[in-house]
Amino acid sequence: MIKTVYSKGKLVAKTGNEVVAEAMRQIEPDVVAAYPITPATEIVQIFSQFVADGIVKSEYVAVESEHSAMSATIGASAAGARAMTGTSSQGLSLMWEMLYIASGLRLPIVMAEVNRAISAPINIHGDQSDTMGARDAGWIQIYSENSQEAYDNMIQATRIAEKAKLPTLVTTDGFIISHCMEVVETYPDADVKAFIGKYEPERYLLDIKKPYTLGSIDLQDYYFEHRYQLAQAMRNAKNIVLDVAKDFEKTFGRKYDLCEKYMLDDAEIAIAVIGSTAGTAKVVVNELREKGIKAGLLKIRVYRPFPAEEIAKDLAHVKAVAVMDRADSCSGAFAPVYSDIVASLYASGVTNPKVVNYVYGLGGREINTGHIIGIYEMLCKIASGTEKSSNKVEYINVRIK
């Protein structure tokens, strides 16, 4: 049975969308600008109801597209407001241009993102292609395994973004989390508000006593320095994420890290995965452990900044690793998480583990314990040397022939 961890916590039954909207209600940003119909999920629609009912004091800006949603959020954030938005799938794609502007201007926008496939063909289901497409946009990306994490991540993201001066998106897997009802522990409004604190930007455009220009032209002589600053900010964000997690644990009792190691320390075979599939994989790990198989799991929570050294350390002793990607970068080579992990291992001098890449679950295609058992079985064979590890992307549960 699910129990409260925080003394003043309350157990509620909510869908992922509802609980993310609940976090937004408690955070009560100054401005939320969004395009609240398809492809966005209900998150901003629920939030707009809070605004209409006078439950929050936030200014809600209903815009005509996601490009405008991000633009208005950027404007609000630059003006000095705590600003948020939410989107999904095609909506995130339409924001593409503005995503880079938000990070380039170092605006601490928080976005509630629901991972859904991108067209074509048209599909509305769970898939991480949307945020993987935004992985180089200079946004901090935090993925959630379930609704509880989504709620906790939203609260932490507000502080992370403001400290790092980087826009931050918190994601949930479409439908699997967004539309499923789960029991979640929420914390009292006052405690959430106390945790995130008051937003006091160092500089903001509406500060008429300290006027400045934001977003000017920056050619050969300074653009590179500004881009370096951004890359550096992302590197520095790792410690900020950890500091906020530490404080969150102290306050609300739930522990967070860049990655979660599940039975990994003594594991001989392991899966590395992002999002809700980590939950499914944990069930499999438990079953395998009962049979005496040393299976482990590495769940990547924070994908940007990428915890390269940490992952290399966590996986160094594992004989065979399967990296599961819920997005195919169509690179002709490998999927995004695999590429990042292999680069991290190699750069850290970790060459021991055999690492294979599995693409799964595109467009909401089922991924169940059976599929994951199959992956672990293959890892066992690779680890024992009876099977060679594949040097190309393997696909799970797709009809190829």
Partner: protein
């Protein structure tokens, strides 16, 4: 020869493409000029149409002894010679004429 300005480093520049206000003053847009507006003090009726029209705030103004705002000349460090002031000056007055910059 002009000494080359020292370019600031990534730690020295303000983050996030912020530029301090009023830096336009430091740009000598006057060097772009191929024609210069010449203001005729005698003809001017101080209607301030040129001042309001100038995109570079290059029409100089001041208060006279009756505390009325009057035009006092052109700021040639920043006037880029677009000719808007001459064009907008009332046709019956024509207190600004554009003349070729002499080398």
């Amino acid at each position: 020869m002009k000494k080359e300005e020292r370019k600031l480093t990534a730690v020295e520049i303000p983050i996030g493409d912020i530029v301090e206000a009023e830096t336009a003053v430091e740009f000598n847009t006057g060097s772009w000029r191929s024609e210069r507006p010449v203001w005729n003090k005698e003809k001017c009726i101080h209607c301030l149409t040129c001042w309001i029209s100038c995109p570079d705030s290059s029409v100089k103004i001041a208060s006279d002894e009756k505390r009325i705002t009057i035009v006092t000349g052109i700021d040639y460090d920043h006037c880029k010679g677009c000719g808007i002031c001459a064009r907008e000056c009332p046709p019956k007055i024509k207190a600004i004429t554009m003349e070729h910059e002499k080398k």
